[in-house]
């Protein structure tokens, strides 16, 4: 039995690796057809037996529909909730798993788990030790604090659930040994809101349709949010920072990503938003800053049913603003602010962006590297924005050339490219109606404005040093340059 379970687990893990590796090795159609995907192995093996602890006893004594208020304090036990009850920790009850196994298992529909601190699961990745595991529908998990846990909230075939106002903090392990802070497996119509997830592996949705994800914060994880084969998902007002990837959509359709902040996601892949063979997506009003690549577009949109809509985003200070794989076609980027990305738009490898549009009607995008002007004051530049620099082209062909970024040699090469247009490469794309002013974008996630105080202090320090030296030198006794005796007399007089 044990051997069979291990086999199933390893198979599952292998398939998970193959799909998440973004290598494109698994054709999505093939993957989509497998409707008989087995649920994660551990769901068949609910492990906790009703224990003798206080909370377990309270659950045993309760009847369906009861509300149990758990006394505050530390409870060292593992629970199984097999009745439809409301379990309320009142914000002061702590459940400690003692570093082994899962902590709370929910096997009855309609359970509410509220107001607990739940901590200290096992660290067995194969058994997927979780703080809360639910295998029943309509579960509500709210106002809990999870710390030192491998998997946080693991919902398996729990549709119509709510995960709200939890703080989920993983164990301080290598990324490879961490578990998912939040995992949904076939949980349609679930609402995930106002949670904070940090130091985990992924927050991941598998095969879950109609999920709403709003006002969550994900930081220092691998994937802030990861969608696998999950359709019609709304992702609004979240903040994902310091993850390897902010939001990664894979093989998912009908996704709306609005008003999120995606900042400093700089892991080995390092995308603000990654799109892999996804379809019918709208990405609007997001702030995407300081990532390795702001947007990464691989084979999306997957069909030609609808264009990929990327609208009104601020894409700023990324190493690459938008990175396209040559296969990407059918995207429409309008009214975005491309602000000071080192490469604003890049095609990985060689290829053209002909099948994508950077303007529509009278609205293009705002580009900080646009060099034209607007003589008729209609807010739109009078010349087409067709960026093509010789050096960028060199970098695309010879990546180690990036070493010479920001050096005068780079500018010299770009100057040569401008002076002799015949050797300049074809532009990668064109924006016929580039905007002269950035589009005002309202993200609900708060924009933190650094106070200028420290910088002003640094400026004052530098000015004081420079000014001090100058003033001291100027205040010294006046010496005429030709008055040689002046210096002679002050030198080395032997006593």
């Amino acid at each position: 039995m044990k051997a069979v379970q291990a086999l199933v687990l390893s198979l599952l893990q292998a398939s998970l690796m193959a799909v998440t590796s973004a290598s494109g090795a698994v054709p999505p159609d093939h993957a989509r057809k497998t409707d008989d995907h087995a649920p994660p192995a551990a769901s068949r093996a609910i492990q906790n037996t009703p224990g003798s602890g206080l909370i377990s006893r309270l659950i045993r004594e309760a009847s369906e529909g009861d509300t149990i208020v758990v006394p505050s304090g530390l409870h060292r036990e593992h629970l199984r909730i097999d009745k439809t009850i409301i379990l309320d920790g009142g914000g002061r009850a702590i459940i400690d798993g003692g570093g082994s196994g899962d902590i709370v298992e929910i096997t009855a529909p309609g359970v509410t788990l509220r107001g607990f601190t739940i901590r200290n699961t096992g660290i067995d990745l194969d058994a997927e030790n979780a703080a809360v595991r639910a295998v029943a529908p309509r579960v509500v998990i709210e106002d809990n604090m999870f710390s030192d846990i491998l998997f946080g909230i693991d919902l398996r075939e729990s549709p119509d659930s709510v995960v709200r106002r939890n703080i989920i903090g993983g164990k301080s392990l290598d990324t490879a040994r961490r578990g998912d802070g939040l995992r949904l497996w076939r949980c349609d119509r679930t609402v995930i809101e106002d949670n904070i997830i940090h130091d985990g592996r992924d927050a991941i949705l598998w095969y879950s349709t109609g999920v709403v994800i709003r006002r969550n914060t994900g930081r220092d994880c691998r994937y802030g949010l990861h969608l696998m084969f999950s359709d019609d998902v709304v992702i609004d007002d979240n903040e994902f920072s310091g993850n390897s990837v902010g939001i990664y959509l894979m093989y998912s359709t009908g996704i709306e990503i609005r008003r999120n902040r995606l900042v400093r996601n700089r892991g080995p892949s390092g995308y603000g938003i990654g799109l892999k063979e996804s379809d019918r997506f709208v990405i609007s009003d997001n702030v995407i800053a300081a990532n390795r690549a702001g947007l990464y577009i691989d084979g999306s949109p997957f069909t030609t049913r609808a264009p990929g809509v990327i609208r009104r985003n601020s894409i700023a200070f990324n190493d690459v603003g938008v990175m396209f794989l040559p296969s990407a076609r059918g995207n429409e980027l309008t009214e975005n602010n491309f602000i000071d990305n080192i490469d604003q738009v890049r095609v990985a490898g060689r290829g053209s962006l002909e099948a994508n549009r950077f303007w529509s009607g009278e609205r293009g995008n705002f580009w900080t590297d646009y060099t034209g002007y607007d003589a008729d004051h209609n807010g739109v530049g009078d010349f087409v924005h067709e960026p093509s620099t010789l050096f960028e082209n060199l970098m695309d062909r010879e990546p180690s050339m990036r070493l010479f970024l920001f050096s005068p040699a780079q500018q010299a090469i770009e100057f040569v490219g401008r002076a002799f247009p015949s050797i300049c490469p074809e532009p990668k794309f064109s924006d016929e109606v580039p905007l002269m002013r950035p589009v005002a974008i309202e993200t609900s996630a708060a924009t933190r404005q650094a106070s200028p105080g420290p910088l002003a202090a640094a400026a004052a320090l530098l000015l004081a040093v420079g000014g001090g030296i100058t003033a001291a030198a100027r205040a010294g006794p006046s010496t005429c340059r030709r008055d040689q005796s002046a210096i002679g007399s002050s030198l080395g007089a032997i006593p």
Binding site: A316, T368, P452, A457, A459, G466, I469, R474, L491
Partner: protein, 294 residues
Amino acid sequence: MSVALTAHPRDLSIPAPPRAWRNILTIAGRELRDAVRSRWFILYTLAFAVLGLAVSFVSAAGTGGTGLSGFGRTTAGLINLVLLVVPLMALTAGASSIASERERGMLAYLFAQPVSRTEVLAGKYAGLAGALAACLMLGLGVCAAILAWKGVAARPASVLWLAALSLLLALGMLSLGMLLSVLSRRASVALGAAVFVWLALVLVSDLALMAGVVALRLRIEELFALSLMNPLQVFKMWSLHAVDATLDVLGPAGLYAADEHGPRLHLIFGVCLFAWVVIPLAAAAVLLARRSPV
């Protein structure tokens, strides 16, 4: 400093170093005073500040009032400015120092005084270094003030790093300039050589390395090692590393450097840049001691 060794080690009643130091200080003070009052100092300070202002204003406008900031045009522009202007400033200042004194017969006069030639060199170096430091701090200080005023959220630590590294680069280039100055008989020759060296460091060596990448298929570790030989590249990589803490912006070679050397990078860059301060200056001292002052 080796200067102390040239004084009288037997004379115990009056400790030897103070006199050498005093001589150096006297010459340095005079050099600094002359430099700060000279046209080149005022011109360079103004040029540096004005260019820095332009860079700061343009990049403040570039953020488009979104309140966003990051490693973008500001830092890159300032690094670029330093890369272009500071070596030119330091090289020409160093190059004209000894050679022009020699041309005017001032060097022979100075050497006739009871001071060692090394003391003269050290004094002149210290004086010019002070003038360059003042020039850089004023220029970058003005930039930082503008950025603070325009509400650009640059990190103050980045600005201070940039100032410190620019100063170190200036010291290295000043040292090289003084070596050229000691080697040249006339000031015009020294200045010409300085401009030539500047061009070589700023443009020619990078372009040659780029050609090497394409033609010789240099491996990235070779490319990184070769780029460490150019003090300007070292300055650039070090400032990126210090300001942004990631070198992956610089592609494969940067990633290689970060993975392979990681925490040692500060040390490596420091040694490379410091070598440009010490070695040319030591060579200049040796050569000056051997050469005729006229």
